[in-house]
Structure formats: C-alpha cells, structure tokens
Homo-oligomer: 228 residues x 2
Amino acid sequence: MGTPARKKRAVVLLSGGVDSSTTAAIAASRGYRLYALSVDYGQRHAVELRAARKVAKRLKAAEHCVVKVDLHAIGGSALTASMQVPKGRSPSEMARQIPVTYVPARNTVFLALALGYAEVVGAFDIFIGANAIDYSGYPDCRPAFLRAFERTANLATKAGVEKKGRFRIHAPLLRMTKAEIIRAGLRLGLDYSSTHSCYDPRPSGRACGACDACLLREKGFEEARVGS
Amino acid sequence: MGTPARKKRAVVLLSGGVDSSTTAAIAASRGYRLYALSVDYGQRHAVELRAARKVAKRLKAAEHCVVKVDLHAIGGSALTASMQVPKGRSPSEMARQIPVTYVPARNTVFLALALGYAEVVGAFDIFIGANAIDYSGYPDCRPAFLRAFERTANLATKAGVEKKGRFRIHAPLLRMTKAEIIRAGLRLGLDYSSTHSCYDPRPSGRACGACDACLLREKGFEEARVGS
C-alpha cells in the first residue's frame, strides 16, 4: 500500500545466509521493490528457509516465493546427498579445491528459476549474492559465468524476445571480502542475527562452527570488527 | 552389463512427447549411453511421466532420473497455473503469438537441471528436443538461446572449469518439421504409441485433440504418412 506502484521490481535470490541477505538489503537500498526467491533444494535443515523468511519480512519484500526443487534426485553434493561436510579447512584449502559441498550447476538452476519468477512478476533485475573472493571455490560464482547467464536470459524469455526490457544479473558482492560484505550490511541496518550460514547445523539449528561457511562467516565478522 | 563400460554418456531431457522421445532415439542411434532426465514440474497429469518412463525403458537408458520442481510456486503459465489451455489455433496463430502454455524460463530450468545431472554422471553431451520450426512460438527453442546456454554451461561447472571435457547441447530436431521428426523416429524403430503430447488430457489420460500440441502432432503424423 505505502509502496509506490511504479517502483522498479527486482527478484532477489535469498537463502537466508550472510551474502544473500546483504544482497537483498543492497537491492532494497537501491529503491527496488523486492520479490524474494528461496529455493528449497532438499537442504539438510529447514533453518536456512526460516532465516530467509525473517530477512524477507524485515526488508519488507513484496513477495517471498519458495520453490521446491528435489536436487536429491540428482545427488552429487554433500549438501543434497549423504556425503560428509568437510570441517576445519583453511582459506587456502578452500581456494585450491572445489569442495564436495558444491552442488552441481546450483547457481544455474537458481538463476533459471529466478528468471522464470522475474518474468512472471514483471521484473528485469535479478540479484544474486555471488562472490568471487571469499567464494569457497565454486565455479558458478565467477563474473564470466554471470555474464554468460545474463546473455542467455535475454534470449530465453518471452519478455526478452518481445523487448519489454533487458534482464540484468546484479551481483553487488562480487568483488567484496566477507568483512566488506558484513560492514555494508551493518551500514544498511541489517540484523545478522536473523541470517544463517552453516552447511551442517545441529538438530537444534545451531551452527557447527567448523564447515567452510561457518569459518568464512566467523573470519568475516572478526575482520569487520577489526576494521580494514 | 552388455553395455561397454567406455560408451560415451549423454543426458537426454525426456518429457515423453514426440519430440523428446525422437531426440532420445537419435542419441541412442549415435552410440550414446542414455541418462534420461524427466522434470516433474507440476504438470496437470502424470500421463507425460508415464510415457517418459516407457520410452526410457524401450531405449534401454542406463538411468531415468525424475526431478520434481514446483513451478506452481512461480506460476505464470497455463501448464502450471490455473489458466485455460487454448484450443483449435491454426499454425499461423501459433507462430504469431507466444501462447499461455509457455512456461517462464522452462528450457533454461530444464537445461540447468540436465547440466547438474550430466556433471554427476560424468556426461558432457546433453540432448534436448528443441525445435525452431513447428515450435509453437517458444523463445527458448531458438538456436541462439541454445548456443548461449552451452557457453554458460562450460563456465558454470566444476567439470567445465577443470577442463575435463566440453559440454555440448545437442538439438538434433532444431531444423526439422514435425513430419520429418516423425519419419526419423519411425526409421529408428520408435513406437510412437508410447509417447504423449497433449497439454490438457482428459482424466482418463486421453488426448484432447484440440490444443497446440495435439494439433501439431496430428499435422505431423498426417504429413509423415503423405511423405514429402
């Protein structure tokens, strides 16, 4: 109601972690009306989705769409199949080797769903929390991938073909360190206590403190406190 | 067992319709070991998946993976939301206007899932029954889209980054008329009675005979019989 009808719409991929939550806060700060999209891809815990719901609400998203995709059927990752999540890896180990928590073609699947959702709600801007620095070694977080997907998006859709607009993939965190990301979020008033990062939370929902995501999160908060 | 271990693997997107079934038969005839992938995206009927299962079995696919994706949550199409499927459209009407049966970003989502599956089973060849002639007006069946996706695929994946191979998107039906497709399938011994096309089947599973898919199928069989 209070939102002007003409506000530009953006779809934001929102997992509920630090990166996607900060990305959503950045999109909101740029004046977009948010359409949050969470993908329920058979994560081990529902904690992540609960966190996404909280963040979407706090950022006053116009809609929060949760799409179920059964990536279990495909398997191939510690996050969707029954493999062990690696613990206690150093940043250089993370950078050297693509971890087993890599979900095959995950960001391609996520961006494809975001594209479909964008077309339905009439948005041309898609925000994703991809990060090429503290990125834990995932190939589908690299700038060249995002550019290639953007090109594909504009050829893939009715909206693109009918030239109603041009799809843009925004990855505002791409060149930021985890500490810079957290500082940006804090400046925008983001409450990180709602966010969730752990790949392997305990049944209670508490973070394990030792997986790549927990270690990167901790390092980020540490450095954000220290300043740069 | 009888299959040589070294046979090249291909993922084939298999809906159980004429086009994807013919595509699978073509992939098999080129000597690939088939990994069939069907996407259960909240179609109105399970008939399509049953047909896919039959075709995969007849073509001796090594695996048939069914991935559930709840495209209902996104909506925006007569195939996934509660809109009416258009009936009795002429081929020129189909060509002029993208129909409401268009599922937003469908082939992007399907190819993304196929890419993930290919990475898991160690395939670099992905077959899709996209067709740019009797294509019912879908933008994501055009050659430029498929080339853009192929480029994206090679940037998106661990397998692509580690240069273990090059992903290729094969669309052998791209330039074929429906009649040519059916003749190709018949030559390869495909039993089209197992396939299914209708967008709006009756509760019994019988085709409606009037939606775009039924009309294109009928026209195709008509012309295939007449010969060209």
